[in-house]
């Protein structure tokens, strides 16, 4: 399912964050939006997820199957947002627990266990989130996002709170678990965008505009030692720094 956002505008407290913005999310591709802090990346993502509160929004959102997008987006934030009063398994099952049907079916439980083992936390199902490390918590958040099984996955700087090694591991994990899905990821790390994405857009300026897509070659997740990738990282950093000056 392709998703297309046209003539989108977002005003926050009389301040124009962006207007007349167009964004295409082709089906099955991983699109990343790169930009500095405060440029409006998160606002754009929350607009797509339908949770851009306190902001005036405009524009049209169309899906190639003709149905509305609302209720078909999974949102993964920078903060893992695990509920401290639920154990790990129930956090993964949150989508089922909060839905109108209420009772959790056995096969849903099985799926949650399977997803936990996929993210390498099969033995932590009964543990409370407070007993997990930051990397483990974000893995649970990833499992929760996968459990929702939505056509579009929106991720807001999902790995930025992790240390370098954990970040690389989680990027690899996310790339393998989210392949074939339509993903939109917000990040300020050019290397992260280059490792994982099929298309990279740069959001910058005031009001913010999207650049033309950059399409790195090769299968994801790409190696951090890839020459072409490092060259592109240099170019992207120069581009971002220009805006600063």
């Amino acid at each position: 399912m392709d998703i297309r956002l046209e003539h989108a505008s977002l005003h926050w407290q009389q301040h124009c964050v962006f207007s007349d913005l167009n964004l295409d999310l082709p089906s099955g591709l991983w699109t990343s939006i790169l930009g500095q802090s405060g440029v409006g990346k998160s606002s754009l993502l929350q607009l797509l997820c339908g949770i851009a509160d306190d902001a005036e929004i405009g524009g049209t959102l169309t899906c190639s199957d003709g149905k509305p997008l609302s209720g078909r987006v999974a949102w993964m934030a920078q903060d893992d947002l695990l509920l401290p009063w639920l154990n790990v398994l129930d956090n993964v099952l949150l989508g089922a627990r909060l839905s109108q049907k209420r009772n959790v079916r056995p096969e849903q439980k099985e799926l949650a266990h399977y997803l936990l083992s996929q993210v390498g936390l099969g033995d932590k199902a009964d543990v409370r989130p407070s007993d997990l490390s930051g990397g483990q918590r974000q893995r649970v958040a990833l499992a929760r996002t996968l459990f929702q099984d939505r056509p579009l996955v929106c991720m807001d700087e999902p790995f930025s709170a992790l240390d370098a090694i954990n970040r690389l591991r989680l990027q690899d994990l996310a790339a393998s678990l989210l392949s074939e899905r339509t993903v939109l990821m917000i990040t300020h790390d050019p290397l992260e965008a280059l490792r994982l994405s099929d298309r990279i857009l740069v959001l910058q300026g005031q009001p913010a505009r999207l650049s033309n897509p950059i399409e790195p070659q090769g299968d994801t997740p790409r190696s951090v030692r890839d020459e072409a990738l490092l060259h592109l990282q240099g170019e992207l950093l120069t581009l971002l720094a220009q805006e600063c000056a």
Binding site: G71, D79, L83, L98, S99, R128, S130
Partner: protein, 259 residues
């Protein structure tokens, strides 16, 4: 071991201080009785004291239950219907601005000299702190939790019951602790204003008859009830939020739980 020993040492120390004051000031029995004569009276009059203590305890517990349930329901209603807040909040604040002690004679007039007026006192004195604490807790849910719940398809009611309510439990626990510490005040003040049973009545009566040792014995039992109630509620409040870590007792601040 030291955990059990410490309260005993504190109690003994205070008793010793009390006895020293009696010795040095040479106060007459009807002004300040020594600890030994108070304990003698306590044992001697135990059946009488227990009978009155039972009444007071019942008033405190029923008042506590009513106040907490009413407070919780009010807080949930305030959180559910935004418009209600504008109408009910001023009423709540005004109700709190009138000292409950000033209402005691009126309550006595309306509800009689029995237990009902004392239960009403205890309920009234608890109601506002519990409502305010719960409402604050319900109101201050992290917005990101609610946004997540919305992307997961949760309706308003589910958000309130499954996200806001559990997130408010720590605040509810604080409200419970305040309630536990003020509920005995409500009950005893009610008894002072007019009653024929209860520890408050017994104290006032003993005071009038210069039976100061009996008054002190009643006071001792009242203190015992209040302290046990507080620790019981504190325990329940902790059980309510097992995920909350107590940072004052954690090793990171250098103080350990055992000492």
């Amino acid at each position: 071991m030291s955990q059990l020993l410490r309260p005993v040492i504190i109690a003994l120390g205070l008793t010793l201080l009390w006895q020293c004051i009696v010795w040095t000031t040479d106060a007459p029995r009807y002004i300040l009785p020594g600890p030994l004569s108070v304990i003698a009276t306590l044992i001697e009059q135990l059946p009488l004291l227990l009978r009155h203590a039972g009444v007071t305890l019942a008033e405190i517990l029923i008042g506590l239950l009513l106040g907490v349930v009413l407070g919780l329901i009010s807080a949930l209603s305030l959180a559910t219907w935004g418009g209600l807040k504008r109408w009910l909040m001023p009423v709540l604040v005004i109700s709190q601005a009138i000292p409950v002690f000033a209402l005691a004679p009126v309550l006595m007039l309306w509800l009689g000299y029995g237990m009902a007026s004392k239960i009403a006192m205890a309920t009234l004195i608890i109601y506002f702190p519990v409502t305010a604490a719960c409402f604050d807790g319900l109101r201050q849910t992290p917005t990101a939790y609610l946004k997540l719940a919305r992307t997961l398809g949760a309706d308003k009611r589910t958000q309130l019951l499954q996200i806001r309510l559990p997130a408010a439990l720590p605040a509810f626990g604080s409200g419970l602790r305040v309630a536990a510490s003020v509920a005995p005040i409500g009950a005893v003040v009610g008894e002072w204003v007019g009653s024929s049973t209860g520890l408050g009545y017994l104290m006032l009566n003993a005071n009038a008859r210069m039976q100061v040792d009996l008054m002190f014995a009643a006071l001792l039992i009242l203190a015992l009830i209040a302290v046990s109630l507080y620790f019981l509620i504190d325990l329940i409040a902790r059980r309510l939020v097992p995920w909350q870590s107590d940072t004052l007792n954690s090793p990171t601040t250098g103080r350990s739980r055992s000492r």
